[in-house]
Symmetry: C2
Subunit: 186 residues, 2 copies
């Protein structure tokens, strides 16, 4: 095989991967992951564990960018540091099982959502409580405050449900209820 042909074949291979890497980055963008972090994840998805310099090389970006990018991905729980013996460079590997990706990524976000909002509701309801206990508060405002208090109260089950959902992901229960299958539904 001539070099020319070999280069074409290699380029074609890289292009095929690039298509999917792009689409991964595009869809991660839907969930608030920046394009460049998504791109990094996609690149790591199709590779083995990588050092920061290998990432820099692949993506043509600076090393600090790779450092912060990989940190973000670690923060999403979808990249882990690995240990490659014989080098003192840090190496990192992407979570390649998308089900695990889903579990790690959304579990973290949903738990955070639940915690933050339940906290805020707790504080807001304390404030509203004070208001409602105060006899001299105008009847109209009382009524509004009561309705708002109830609206907050009624939203709590949603956050508890998010917590249950996360638990069911972690226990595997969700995957029993909605089993993975290979039958194309598209």
């Amino acid at each position: 095989m001539s070099n020319q042909q070999g280069d074409n074949a290699r380029a074609s291979f890289e292009q095929a991967k690039a298509l999917v890497i792009d689409s991964i980055a595009e869809t991660m963008d839907l969930y608030g992951v920046t394009r460049s972090a998504g791109n990094l994840y996609g690149t790591m998805y199709f590779g083995n564990d990588m050092t920061l310099d290998e990432m820099r090389e692949k993506l043509g970006m600076s090393k600090p960018s790779m450092s912060t990018g990989v940190k973000k991905l670690q923060d999403y729980n979808i990249v882990k540091q690995t240990f490659r013996k014989g080098t003192r460079r840090q190496t990192f590997a992407a979570e390649k099982d998308f089900f695990q990706f889903f579990a790690n990524f959304f579990a973290k976000k949903w738990l955070r959502e639940a915690r933050i909002n339940l906290d805020a509701i707790h504080k807001a309801q304390q404030e509203l409580d004070q208001l409602l206990e105060n006899e001299s508060v105008d009847g109209n405002l009382r009524e509004e405050a009561l309705l708002t208090y109830r609206q907050m109260e009624d939203s709590k089950p949603y956050y508890y449900w998010l917590q249950k959902l996360v638990a069911s992901i972690e226990s595997g229960e969700l995957f029993d209820a909605i089993p993975v299958d290979e039958i194309k539904k598209q």
Copy 2:
């Protein structure tokens, strides 16, 4: 009740709501919704249907901002246009049922994720097919291409599962499997 006291009470009420509006905006931010769109949603969540001018007034922002903001929220399927008779102004209302919010918001994203990535995989696999059919391609590259082809193939079940998950949300099956309850688990 004196005006001073009344004003304090009103301010306290508004502050209680603001706490929760902020936390809603903060958590929507986790999923790639900008703070200002999240803030708008939160504001609408605690109000009735609103016109663009009412939003502008509440948030202290320009009308074009409200127009684009509300459009984004409509795009996420979490705000709908409503009809208030007696005015020719458009009115909009937020989805107040967070379970419906969850269903609308994530279903749309997950379906989009599945479609985009399955499309890209389809195209990439065609490219890899050509490469693998070409007898003159170097053995090493063939091997790599084959592994990558399989990696893509193996990721498909995940996207089909996302589609199933969406279907189970829409059918209510998910909520049978992971029932809503009021027991605090935090």
